[in-house]
């Protein structure tokens, strides 16, 4: 009886310390259980914002292998825990529903995309790389040894990791491709 009646805020108003029902008496069960998703996260991972070159440090909160929050890392001497609008939108960037997560393939002269599984795509790309490399291969150019191909070119964005840039430059050079470019020049 007591608990049932106690559940009714009016009763709490009459008997408690909040006669006008403005705060303590009006709280619902759900309000009592309010908790921050940063507290219930499984782990916090240290990262860096992918947008501009200031390099603001980010804390990434993960729960059940899903990203639940990305905010600034107060320890950073560069950003002191703060972020700009783009940095603050990082969670939406990584969890965007419009992200493409499966390989898409467009046949020459086709008017729409088709699906393709990842491994097949990798094999097809390898075939084409070798073919284009061969087609554009030059042992010499203007009488000088060049040992290169002009058939394959690449344009990287400047949000590539150093490790990715390194493997790309190493592989492309080994293939003989020289038309390797990056947004750093745009």
């Amino acid at each position: 009886m007591k608990t049932w009646l106690d559940a009714w805020p009016v009763f709490r108003q009459l008997t408690g310390s909040d006669p006008l029902g403005r705060g303590h008496a009006a709280r619902s069960k759900a309000t009592e259980q309010v908790v921050s998703r940063t507290a219930t996260a499984d782990r916090v991972v240290k990262s860096v914002c992918p947008y501009c070159a200031v390099g603001c440090a980010q804390r990434v909160f993960v729960k059940d292998e899903q990203i639940v929050q990305i905010e600034g890392d107060p320890d950073s001497p560069i950003s002191r825990g703060r972020l700009c609008p783009k940095g603050s939108a990082s969670k939406q960037l990584v969890t965007s529903p419009s992200r493409v997560t499966t390989v898409k393939y467009r046949r020459p002269y086709a008017t729409d995309w088709e699906d393709l599984d990842l491994d097949t795509a990798m094999e097809m790309i390898a075939d084409r790389v070798l073919e284009a490399r061969e087609k554009g291969w030059q042992d010499e150019d203007a009488g000088k040894r060049v040992n290169r191909t002009m058939g394959v070119a690449s344009l990287g964005g400047a949000t590539l990791d150093n490790e990715e840039n390194y493997l790309m430059k190493k592989l492309y050079s080994a293939l003989g491709a020289v038309q390797i470019e990056n947004q750093a020049r745009i």
């Binding site: 009714w8 805020p9 009016v10 108003q13 006008l20 029902g21 403005r22 008496a25 009006a26």
Partner: protein, 405 residues
């Protein structure tokens, strides 16, 4: 590119090593800037006043009639437009008022030997109460949570207090109406099928009806006027400013409606009181409404302009017309019916007019800024007269009621 001539480190006490004397920093001219961008600047802009200042307070709204200048954020409204449904809520106000007064009429009719008047008034009160409840629940964003209205009792919330008026009133008024219905054979037959014990208590029905009617009448008055407090207790300029008069407008309008409807339904010989109630109501409503429409400066303006203005004119015409017919021909059936209908229509139109005026005053920042600026100016003047003015926009503490509106 940005250059920051950076004097990092502590302050310098050393004199200026620059190669020219440290000029005296200019005193920044006061506030008030000419708006540079924003709305369409291609219209030929007013020539800025020549001479040092050259700035005026915020942007100049092109107003039809020259009036107090005021600034705003690109002409955007400051407070939010109420989200209540139109016309459901004005109808709710009308029905509340009509039912409230009808319940009082019914109760008095029961004890002054006017059976037909009592019956009709009880039907009006019961129907009005039920319709009010339905309209209130329909206006909710989450109708299924209507019981939350009784979750707390907050004296600071007219809607909370209103819910605790509407609940008993609607219960008792519909009960009275129900007991009245049991006088009809078919209804009694149907009733006994559902409630077999009914015939046993048949004798007590009139007593039950009378007590329900009296119970309902107890809430009839508040039922009619709490809705005025409901809209006055908002930040909507045209509702809040006349908070002293609106309850009387609603009271008068309720009586006009209640009296009118019961007069129209009841044979003239028993409808005497309804006529008098109606006429009393009209008088009160017109008197109070006049103050609302003219007593509050710029904030009264919405009652004359646009849709609200049209509604208020129609309301006044119907109310005065109805009252005249009631007064002159009220004793004849056709007069009673015509008068009653007109009065009811006038009452509904008044509610819709007041509602519409409030909406209009919410949508235009003028009605929020100008009165508040006048209030600040009055306060500065008052304080200027007594003590030196202090900065900021605080209100003088002290008698709330003496604050000029």
């Amino acid at each position: 590119m940005t250059v920051s001539s950076h004097g990092s480190g502590g302050a310098d006490s050393s004199g200026p090593t620059g190669n020219e004397p440290a000029g005296d920093a200019p005193v920044t001219p006061g506030a008030g800037w000419h708006r540079a961008g924003g709305e369409d600047l291609t219209r030929p802009r007013r020539k800025r006043r020549k001479g040092g200042g050259g700035w005026g307070g915020g942007n100049r709204e092109a107003a039809m009639v020259p009036e107090a200048e005021f600034s705003s954020y690109y002409g955007r409204q400051i407070i939010k437009t109420p989200t209540w449904k139109n016309p459901e809520v004005p109808i709710y106000f009308f029905l509340g008022g009509a039912a409230g007064t009808s319940s009082v009429i019914a109760a008095l009719a029961e004890f002054t030997g006017r059976p037909k008047l009592a019956r009709n008034a009880e039907y009006v009160a019961g129907a009005g109460a039920l319709a009010s409840v339905v309209l209130l629940i329909d206006d909710l964003g989450r109708p299924e949570r209507f019981l939350h209205m009784l979750r707390v009792f907050k004296v600071t919330s007219p809607l909370s207090v209103g819910s605790y008026i509407l609940s008993p009133f609607s219960a008792l008024a519909s009960a009275a109406a129900a007991f009245r219905l049991l006088d009809l054979k078919p209804v009694m037959g149907l009733g006994t099928k559902v409630l077999p014990f009914l015939p046993k208590i048949a004798g007590a029905i009139p007593l039950l009806r009378k007590s329900s009617a009296v119970g309902a009448a107890a809430f009839g008055g508040p039922m009619a006027t709490y809705t005025a407090v409901l809209i006055a207790n908002t930040a909507v300029p045209s509702w809040h400013a006349p908070y002293d008069e609106l309850p009387f407008v609603f009271a008068g309008s309720a009586m006009a409606a209640g009296g009118g409807i019961t007069m129209a339904l009841t044979p003239v010989d028993e409808a005497g009181p309804s006529r008098r109630v109606a006429l009393g109501g009209v008088a009160l409503e017109l008197a109070a409404m006049h103050k609302v429409e003219n007593g509050h400066g710029v904030v009264s303006e919405p009652y004359h302009l646009g849709k609200a203005g049209k509604l208020m004119k129609a309301a006044k015409a119907a109310t005065v017309g109805g009252a005249a017919i009631t007064a002159l021909l009220g004793r004849k059936r056709p007069g009673a019916v015509a008068g009653g209908v007109l009065l009811a229509a006038g009452s509904l139109l008044t509610r819709m007019g007041v509602f519409e005026a409030g909406m209009a005053s919410a949508k235009d920042p003028k009605y929020t800024v100008i009165p508040q600026r006048e209030r600040i100016a009055a306060r500065e003047a008052a304080r200027g007269a007594t003590t030196d003015g202090t900065e900021g926009n605080d209100i003088t503490s002290g008698e709330a009621s003496t604050i000029t509106r």
